[in-house]
Amino acid sequence: MAKTIWVLVEIENGRPARSSLEVLGKAASLGRAEAIVLGSHADEVASGIGEFGAEKVYVHNDPVYDTYLTLPAVDTLSDLLKQHQPDLLMLATTYDLRDIAARLNARNNMGLITDATDLQFEGDTLNVTVPWGGETVVTATLPKQGTGIVLTRPKAFAVEHFEGRTAEVETLNVSLQASSQVMKVLERVEVESEGPSLEDASVIVSGGRGLGKAENYHLVEELAAALGGAPGATRAIVDAGWLPYSHQIGQTGKTVKPTLYVAVGISGAIQHLAGMKGSKYIVAINKDEHAPIFSVADLGIIGDALTILPQLTEEVKKRKVQ
């Protein structure tokens, strides 16, 4: 019998979030995919969701889900899970979905695997692939009964198209509890950032603690500029106040998949690797030959970044002119 896989689809600017559609595409390949859409514009999103893989969609069009974070969605999902007991719930890794996943798991004692890059059913057993660090890949499963949750790594899957497919729509009859309307969004502010966005950049040059001090970070920016790329940072230097959080690459920062990633003075902590391991080519420069970053580098140089960077920038500029 086909497995039933649920995907909570986020809404962004009145449209389904791309990250959720990627997960929905994967869910459709695993079995019968069903979507849940909650919030303002839920009706519009639900009407087109079949084309992205959903065979059924549960809808509740209500701005409460947008104004009050996490709990209204957890309440609605918990009720639905009890009623229908799907085989699996898949969620993209985003700020809001992580918060929902954590509470849903605790409320319903489910089982939760994060940062998955692949999954498949072997009979009734779910095998989930979770890369770990630079050298390891783990297969995990949810051995206990009941619906489990898998959060997937950003960009692990592609959006799939199912032309002409329409999902069966079920409009939910839900009364939203006032006692769950406790985390209130007072305002939303968009901040403009200059330069190429990290997620879209095909070249990223990233700096870490090995640069020594904030004043040296300009060497990273200069190489990035010479290569036509964007400058990035590790959590360590963001924590140290050298750069704003918007530059952070890593599991709670940005996940990037550029063609070229140059890691300068970066040791390669697991959560940083999780954010950049999908890069096509990785070059690493670090003084410490034991730095974990070398396990994922295509080319690793054991050396002093402060000496090498300006020389490399010059060399790049020279060769680009030729």
């Binding site: 985003t94 798991n105 605790a106 007072l186 040791s267 990785i282 580098a297 050396g303």
Partner: protein, 261 residues
């Protein structure tokens, strides 16, 4: 106000290539350098700042871990935390995020916490699922990815980081708050802080002190299971070279060969 900060001792991310033990399927914690999670240092700094700007408040560090985690607790005390509670019990080994959240929530419930600080995720496990689990078990709001935290009477207001900027979010207290990286200036332990840490109250609890059923925590309670641990395929071109003075040329050659210039 009673403020709490949840912290964790982990293998040093800057010097240890973390490994999973193929027989126990768990993170190797023996024979490696263990430190207070560097991410928690930012979170502790945020909590100290809030304690100091709020009248009449105390700050307590809470952790679940093996006995060696005492060292991490002492560092937190040296940074300026007022007291520390460590839950340590062999039955807790192999706990998943749910088991961990259950234990920490049990401590915090007994303590009647007003505000609970956590990092957004740990540097080793990086699931980010424990703070939400704690909030759910306590039945309180969670305000996550805060780059600013303000307490106004019985309400907490944060500026929450988002993909495109930030949101201002508020809730009633008590609440769990998770702190976004780089939001607060790090506080470093002073010599005075290190000396006074020895005299600060430090409590160790076991599972039976919390009245938690062992079947719900530790490996027995874990609802996820590692089945296999494998080596990832080495990257095709992977080579590591010492800089002989020509590193810039070597790298530029590589970039040229793969048409990256």
């Amino acid at each position: 106000m009673k403020i709490y900060v949840c912290i964790k001792q982990i293998p040093d991310p800057n010097t240890v290539v973390s490994k999973l033990d193929p027989s126990t399927k768990r993170l190797v914690r023996s024979g490696v350098s263990l430190v207070l999670d560097p991410g928690d240092e930012t979170t502790i700094s945020a909590a100290i700042k809030l304690r100091d700007t709020t009248g009449n408040s105390e700050l307590v560090a809470v952790s679940m871990g093996p006995a060696s985690a005492q060292e991490a607790m002492r560092r937190a005390l040296a940074m300026g935390v007022d007291s520390a509670i460590l839950v340590t019990d062999p039955a807790l080994a192999g706990s998943d995020t749910l088991g961990t959240a259950r234990v920490l929530a049990a401590v915090l419930k007994k303590e009647n916490a007003d505000l609970i600080f956590c990092s957004t995720e740990s540097t080793d496990g990086y699931t980010g699922m424990v703070p939400g689990g704690i909030a759910e078990f306590l039945g309180i709001p969670q305000l996550t990815f805060a780059r600013e935290v303000n307490v106004e009477g019985q309400r907490a207001v944060i500026k929450q980081v988002t993909q495109t900027g930030y949101r201002t979010v508020e809730s009633s207290l008590p609440a769990v708050v998770t702190v976004a990286s780089g939001s607060f200036e790090a506080i470093y332990p002073t010599m005075k802080g290190i000396m006074s840490a020895r005299k600060k109250p430090f409590t160790q609890l076991t599972l039976s002190d919390l009245g938690i059923d062992a079947a719900q925590v530790g490996e027995a309670g874990a609802r996820e299971q590692v089945v296999t641990i494998g080596k990832v395929e080495a990257r095709a071109a992977g080579q590591v070279l010492k800089d002989d003075g020509n590193a810039a040329q070597t790298i530029a050659d590589f970039l040229q060969r793969y048409q990256l210039l």
